[in-house]
């Protein structure tokens, strides 16, 4: 099997689309983690009836007709998430060239190459 070291004259610089995609994927995961950190704990501590507490209907707090825990814990994060999504899509994400399509190469040749590779492996 070939080693991982670059051959003489081989490309050594990472593809910018790969680097941009990876950076964007990491930011996506961070946004997911932040939304989890806001939504679930907030709803749990303000919207769940904890052991020993009795719920009284007249004490329910609402905002725009929603229970306040659902408003601040879900509706507001939803609006914020849409704003962050707009920023991510229109500002942060790089407008990369995805390249040309390399389909239609001789499939028989390609399969022979892959089979040889499998045997070698």
């Amino acid at each position: 099997m070939n080693s991982g070291s670059p051959a003489p004259g081989a490309a050594t610089e990472y593809d910018p689309v790969f680097l941009n995609s990876r950076r964007e994927a990491i930011v996506t995961l961070a946004i997911w983690a932040l939304s989890l950190a806001w939504v679930v704990p907030y709803c749990y501590f303000t919207g769940y009836v904890q052991d020993g507490n009795e719920f009284k209907p007249e004490q329910l707090q609402t905002v725009l007709g929603m229970p306040s825990w659902a408003f601040w814990g879900i509706a507001v994060p939803w609006v914020v998430a849409n704003i962050v999504t707009a920023w991510f899509a229109f500002v942060y994400m790089a407008d990369d060239d995805l390249g040309e399509v390399h389909e239609g190469l001789d499939i028989e040749e390609e399969i022979a190459e892959i089979s040889a590779h499998d045997r070698k492996a």
Partner: protein, 674 residues
Amino acid sequence: MTCPPASLLPLFAQTTSGSNGALITFLVYTAAVFVIAWYSNRLQQKKESFLSEYFLGSRSLGTWAFALTFAATSASGGTFTGFPSLVYAHGWSVALWISSYLVVPICGLGLLAKRINQVARIGGSITVPDVFRDRFQSARFGLLATLLIVFFMTFNLVAQFKAGAEILRTLLQDVGIFQWARAELARFDATQLHLFAARDIEPGYVICLLAFAAAVIVYTTYGGFHAVVWTDVMQGLVMVMGVLIMLPLALYQVGGLESATREMAKMTPPRVIDARLSLETASDSAYPIPTGTWLTLPPQEGSELPRLLRVSRQRTIPAGQTSVDNVPLLELTTPSEIERQLSRLAVPVEELNGPLTVEVTRTLDYRYGKDQPGVYVTGPGPQAPNRSLSPEEQPASSGFLPLSLAISFFFMWAISGAGQPSNMVRQMAFNSTTTLRRSIFTVAIYFSLIYFPIVLIFCCARVLLPGMDEESDRIMPEMAVFLTSAVNQPWLAGVLIAAPFAAVMSTVDSFLLMISSAIVRDFYQRNINPEVSESRIKLMSYAVTFVVGAGAMFAAVSPPRFLQDIIVYTGSGLASCFLIPMVVTLYWPRVTLAGAMAGMLGGFLSHLSLYVIGYVHYSEFRALKPLGIDPIIWGLATSLLLTLAVTPLTPQPPRKLIERYFMKQAPRKASVTT
């Protein structure tokens, strides 16, 4: 459709406008998807590569097509049947259950889309197994991915066909021509076929299955990927339109969201009752007691309000007999709800039972939330008992959505959605990064207009249509008919109840094409006959799509038990198998073939083993959930750990592959350019 015989015309006339709306909607729908399929087929004739066009739309999707096909495929039939049903049954806590949809667009398209599209272009990949095969230059890996896709999606396809047929049956149940056809088929079966009654298969279900399957199989087979995408666009628009019409109507009917939430705050869960219903004297003919019949009992001690009960499933007192046992009833327990419903019924309480006498034979209390006001506006939500168990056998419940499951679902919707091959293949089909960027935002707005409003609409339904807890799967069409009748526009019901139908159709067509592409492209062309001619592959693509669809339809006539559980199993199983291997395929140059394959097999086996152990342990199709955590998370964790452990133990991947997929290089000469 041909004109009905004259003897049938009264049947048309007898149906309500809403029911006719459903029939007309279905016919218009079918006509529209056939037009789209015809146009897509014409597109195929003009393209150089049939396979790329048939299975991937020549990677030419623009913003609307890409965004709406992604959104419509994600929103399966469950979005308009199961999800509203959950909101109705558990109240506001379902908002937390679905809340991670606020980041589904960015996660679903931000994690993998750009890179998978680029890698598929580099390798010339048309399908998801193609991506693995080309990236690692391994036919074995491609074959493994193909087998897993066919395995999971075949089960899921059968289940989706069943869901489509059930939704259609709900839509058409009051239509005269449908009732006539059902009765005729039942008669034909009883005298000639002897197929359905013996197997407890309802003839109406078979008719709907045939109609649904015929429409989907024909347009998908004939039109290929473009037909699937453009029908998705149409179906996506119908879904959002349905929700946006229902929301103001629901809020208007209930007197505003504040009023609905305040009412829900007072509500306590219903009582689950079995009763004997009796007539004073036996009737000459059978006496049906339809679902939705309201009955009453004298007030309980200390109360002035009569008890109010609703029949949950139709029962019939046979001819010549005076009673029927075990009639399932639900008793309302909230005084304001009873008063409101009594005033709506517009029948004096003493006349409500008609000739029937009600005798309660068994009462079951809710497993969580009994006599607790507020359980519909706080978490955890109420949990109904299991009618098939005695009161002593009811398992304990901590309510709907304990904290561990809330976290699991936040993970599941957002992250595992990205791991679905049906989403991945769409991410290979958009034409540029600009399309991707616009689509992320479009899907975000689209999901915002669908998911949160559904919570609001079906919280209103809880107030407007009480007592439907045991048939809450039908709450969407019931609510559509109720809302449109209330504003005297019953024709609108047909448009509204098309939404769930559109949702399930847009999922089925994608799955159908995924399976046929796996068989034709990944299995046949790449492993059996690489020299296959273009005309033969074209014929095979049509034939396989048709045969797979027809096979799934026949399997759905008498579907296996535990079908709904199988849907959950296949969705989470696909994510466990594909997400981590795809992430490392795209983002980790060092990953080796052995590492990625170990991740895929590890995800599959660990997820499967939790279901097998659960089946042995509980004697039903139910997964074991160690620490209360869903199997998908265990599957993904195993997949990740195995990939990380095996990769360093195996030699570095070939430098040639790293250069091809990860290094900056001069563009290669392409034979096909989009």
